[in-house]
């Protein structure tokens, strides 16, 4: 393939409407759209597995006990291509994470957004921390 730089206008193409509801994942079988959750806590770890990356978030309950929530995210390959690496996200990082709870009522959910205390969203399509400049995913999230 040739690289006609002068003719390549806007790079990137995203998501949402452009990528129809395909794929492999039976969200509706496992998760409940009527049970949105918002969890504030600290990142315990991430499992970088296909077909879903998992992020574990420790949240403190009122009685001082800790519940570790498991959030399901998309496949890691997209993140890896944007420059994210296994150590990009430090355990102990505070996050506010929203999603939809598993139907079986466990501390499991399908993640929608992961926000840092300063309001920045992680994994939203922007480049990884420290990778400098906008990654290929940055241009737009929705059409």
């Amino acid at each position: 393939m040739t690289t006609q730089r002068s003719l390549i206008a806007t790079v990137t193409l995203f998501v949402a409407a452009a990528i129809p509801a395909a794929a492999h994942h039976s969200f509706a079988a496992e998760f409940d759209p009527n049970q949105p959750v918002t969890i504030r806590g600290t990142i315990n770890k991430m499992d970088w597995v296909n077909p879903h990356t998992w992020i574990y978030v420790d949240t403190k309950n009122e009685d001082g006990s800790i519940t570790t929530w498991r959030f399901e995210m998309g496949p890691p390959n997209a993140l890896l291509r944007m420059g994210w690496r296994k150590d990009s996200v430090t355990p102990g990082t505070q996050v506010e994470i929203t999603g939809y709870r598993a139907k079986d009522g466990n501390a499991v959910a399908n993640a929608k957004t992961v926000k840092l205390p300063d309001g920045r969203e992680l994994f939203s399509g922007g480049s990884a921390p420290g990778s400098g400049g906008e990654g290929p995913g940055a241009a737009e999230k929705k059409q």
Binding site: A29, E30, D32, L80, R85, K86, D87, K103, D104
Partner: protein, 257 residues
């Protein structure tokens, strides 16, 4: 007489140099490399057991493919191997879950696989679990901070007429065979593919894993080209059938509001 001697002299003259390099008539790709494209298969029983093994229940006999005969386990690792062997009908995930078998085991599963060769990328597509290896041959190193993969991260380069593939990031849950020979997440495999004639590849792999073995060790075997007319890699999607077996009569536990 002279003609007879002359013909013998020609034979001797030509034969000796050929023994020292790849055959002159070897098919080559456009970029001058030995052409490994095609369908290949190992014809041994290493998938059952890499070491010498007699015939036993569900186990065909075979002479081992390990150079030196025995895998050099660390003393504490020998126990783990024995536990694996005892539990193999449950814990060998390739067999009990149809999970991808990892490297090097995929290379000697007893089913054909394809090699699809381009200058910067060599794909191998396996019958078993439709597994695939993507061997990146563009000179890039293993990326730092990548997760582990069931088939590892493979980076290939040519040393003369030998394809050398360096494999890391292998998921520790794969086994080296059905006998419970295993490795840790520190496994590093270096493979050498040397085509010795158009239908045979000498395959050698060096395995290094200081958490499990006392030293690096090698396996060696021949890969045979499948010449049957219209041969192709067929689907062996065994996961589907295992799922049927496990969940076919199950009721869902989740109940929607």
């Amino acid at each position: 007489m002279k003609a007879f001697l002359a013909s013998w002299a020609m034979f001797v003259f030509v034969a000796i140099p050929l023994a020292a390099q790849a055959p002159a008539r070897l098919p080559r790709t456009a970029d001058g490399k030995p052409d490994l494209n095609g369908i290949w298969q190992a014809l041994n029983t290493a998938a059952w057991d890499l070491e010498d093994h007699s015939g036993a229940l569900h186990t065909p006999p075979g002479q081992g493919v390990v150079e030196g005969g025995e895998i050099p386990y660390r003393p504490e690792a020998i126990k783990k191997k024995a536990e694996n062997f005892a539990g193999r009908e449950k814990y060998d995930l390739a067999e009990t879950a149809c999970y991808m078998p990892g490297v090097p085991r995929a290379m000697y599963m007893p089913y054909p696989f394809g090699i699809i060769q381009t200058p910067k990328l060599i794909e191998m597509n396996f019958t078993f679990a439709h597994a695939r290896r993507n061997i990146i041959a563009d000179g890039t190193p293993h990326p730092d901070g990548f997760p582990d993969f069931w088939m590892g991260d493979s980076r290939g380069r040519w040393e003369g007429d030998t394809l050398v593939v360096d494999v890391k990031n292998l998921d520790e849950r794969t086994w080296l065979d059905h006998a419970g020979n295993y490795h840790s997440d520190a496994l590093h495999v270096v493979e050498r593919y040397t085509i010795i004639d158009p239908t045979h590849i000498q395959y050698e792999a060096t395995l290094e894993d200081p958490k499990v073995f006392t030293r690096p060790w090698k396996i060696n075997m021949i890969l045979y080209k499948i010449l049957d007319k219209n041969a192709k890699i067929l689907e062996y999607e065994c996961v589907y059938y295992l799922q049927d077996e496990k969940y076919g009569n199950a009721k869902p536990v989740v109940v929607s509001k």
